[in-house]
């Protein structure tokens, strides 16, 4: 059972989109239950609650019950994170509420996900909400979509119904340019096609939902990426008792993308100075090379000025340094975006003051149409331009989520008020 004896396929973060009515909570409950993540005392507690509410069977949706404030109002107000493991892979589910006013929650949940499950109620087919969730998932750059047509038990497990919904969805997907989609019929209530196949969907010969999840590629594994290393912290031990450490200058950060090894030629931005990687370390121990998502320390051959907010890249593949950006922005705050104000943009480990210079158009997430706009309110999504006080080292979001994303901070409250994806 220990970590080094079993095969480890790492970790997959995915998102579930849909409302309570689509059976989203039941689906998550079912995944947790069928992978034996739910322990006896939790189950006993929800059995009691189910009985109290007069239900015949255990209501698995209660497993995702959240805060007191939510129970009082009977709604979900925030993204919740759930965990399960199959022994070969660990999963983090971002469970986002489905209501229209919670676009910001879905964008938040989607920002760290590599796969999204879009739930459709088989009785209702493709709805406005389905289109909205799919569009948002695509916008936030989730590479893999699974369209789960749920409640098949309520349509007599009809293949015809399934095929009809699939055709409707594909027509829509073509229009908005979503490519990698898988379809699966299921009944979360009865557990058909989640972990077990069940007996009622014999006409479906594809993988179960869990099989799809187990086989899904992890983040950053699908194509080669350029090396991007935003510096978080500089280590200068200056330990007088240890002369070896006297000149130690370690640049600490997480590899956002790509890989790096000893001997590679690198450039430090913004000063543009070049050097060679002398060592790659974790906790002071040499590891020789590092890959995407690893948190490491880089030592360079030359003494170069480099501090938090700078970025180390491979010399032959430097990103653009820009003082103006065009981006798709989702506004997250109650107070609307104010053209007159100066905001703070945080991109990787770098901050810059920023001012809005224009709103190109707003996206109506229901009709998916572009509409003219001169302001942005909470949950609005728009294409906008900012001018910046400091240069940022950016890649288009579609190429690199790490160096294409930024958040907007209101300095008066310190709140995070916007999420941006660079075009």
């Amino acid at each position: 059972m220990s970590a080094h004896q079993v095969e480890d396929h790492g970790l997959l973060r995915f998102l579930t989109c849909g409302s309570v009515d689509d059976g989203k909570s039941t689906l998550i409950g079912r995944l947790l239950y069928d992978t034996k993540t739910i322990l006896a005392d939790t189950l006993t507690a929800i059995e009691k609650t189910s009985q109290k509410r007069g239900m015949a069977a255990v209501d698995l949706s209660l497993l995702t019950d959240g805060l007191q404030a939510e129970r009082e109002q009977g709604i979900t107000i925030d993204v919740a994170y759930r965990y399960f493991s199959t022994g070969t892979r660990k999963y983090i589910i971002a469970d986002a509420p489905g209501h229209e006013q919670y676009t910001r929650n879905m964008v938040t949940a989607a920002s760290t996900a590599n796969l999204a499950i879009i739930l459709i109620d088989a009785r209702k087919g493709v709805l406005t909400q389905t289109r909205r969730h799919s569009k948002l998932a695509a916008l936030v750059g989730i590479p893999h979509l699974v369209v789960a047509i749920n409640k098949m038990d309520l349509v007599d497990y009809s293949q015809e119904t399934y095929e009809k919904i699939k055709a409707d969805y594909l027509e829509f997907a073509k229009k908005v340019g979503i490519e990698d989609i898988r379809f699966i019929p299921l009944s979360a209530l009865n557990g058909d096609m989640i972990v077990d196949r069940g007996d009622s969907l014999d006409w479906y010969d594809g993988p179960t939902l869990l099989e799809i999840l187990e086989a899904a590629p992890g983040a950053h594994t699908e194509h080669a990426e350029k090396f991007r290393f935003p510096v978080q912290f500089v280590c200068r031990p200056q330990d007088s008792a240890n002369p070896e450490l006297h000149d130690y200058r370690g640049f600490m950060g997480r590899v956002e993308s790509g890989s790096i090894k000893v001997g590679d030629k690198v450039t430090v931005l913004p000063n543009g100075l070049e050097s060679t990687v002398k060592a790659v370390q974790i906790g002071g121990a040499d590891i020789g090379e590092a890959f995407t998502e690893q948190s490491v320390t880089l030592l360079l051959a030359d003494e170069i000025d480099c501090s938090r907010g700078d970025m180390i890249v491979k010399s032959e593949e430097a990103p653009a340094a820009v003082k103006e950006i065009r981006a798709t922005v989702c506004w997250l705050a109650e107070a609307p975006l104010d053209r007159a104000r100066t905001y703070l943009i945080r991109h990787t480990t770098r901050d810059s003051k920023a001012k809005l210079t224009g709103i190109d158009h707003r996206l109506d997430v229901n009709t998916l149409e572009h509409v003219a706009a001169d302001k942005l309110a909470m949950n609005d999504i728009a294409e906008v331009s900012f001018k910046l006080a400091q240069p940022l080292f950016v890649d288009p979001y579609t190429e690199n989520r790490g160096t294409g994303a930024f958040i907007v901070i209101d300095e008066s409250t310190n709140n995070t008020v916007g999420a941006g994806m660079i075009l």
């Binding site: 970790l11 005392d41 925030d78 594994t221 912290f233 280590c235 200068r236 330990d239 950060g253 121990a285």
Partner: protein
Amino acid sequence: MTQRSTSSTLSHLDWLEAEAIHIMREVAGQCANPVLLFSGGKDSICMLRIAEKAFRPGKFPFPLMHIDTGHNYQEVVQFRDKRAAELGERLIVRSVEDSMKRGTVVLKHEGESRNKHQSVTLLEAIEEFGFDCCIGGARRDEEKARAKERIMSFRDEFGQWDPKNQRPELWNLYNARSHKGENIRAFPISNWTEMDVWQYIEREDLELPSIYFAHKRPVVIRQGAIVPVNVPLMSGELTNLPKAGEEIVDLQVRFRTVGDISCTAPVESAADDVAKIVLETATTTITERGATRLDDQTSEASMEQRKKEGYF
């Protein structure tokens, strides 16, 4: 320290570790005066290893701090001091008993659990040292209020958490900004489960206080829970005395979670090494807090309530 083998996909433990290191470095980079909360418990022991990987060969860019209820297991307190000394890092201890002397903590009765009163002492220590961020070892799988808390969680001047008004947290772009008097709580191992913690302890070969492993101990069975009795405090004084009529039995137990003596119960177990505990964790039928935290069972929302009042 264990290093991963080279490949392009990180194992789940490597990924979790890399995320936690990144979060600690963000705290160090963004906050002027952070502190790492270290109790001597298993989660905070993992946090220290993560801090070593994040900052060595340098010193940690923050001191360690323990809020001591005065009702902690000797083994854990001794381990706490030993570990801090081995690392050569500064350990600050602030005690609930000092808050009681000041009159800022008033127990309802002498036997009342001091666990929730740690909030008061914590807030006093934050003010005393001017900490702008406390790094804690809480995990989202522990409890449903924690499942919705941010990795960088904002607390107002009164230390309060407002679950309905949290800062959105996107990608790995953390916002640890605060005004003077306000505070950020940072949780680098938010995404870890109890199993991940034990697997990490095994992989990194981390030393733990002895009470995490199976040992014989006098206990009574009170309302279905195993309650340790006649537990010696650091002073040598015994606490958790049995009530009249209770039968003391010697059971083989281990602790899954370690906190204030008055509210932490052990489980029956013969697991005397980490590998056996990993196996037991994989096959257990009871959640960590359900089995062992007497304080969380009081009400369905008790953790949420405590967090709103400034708890870790």
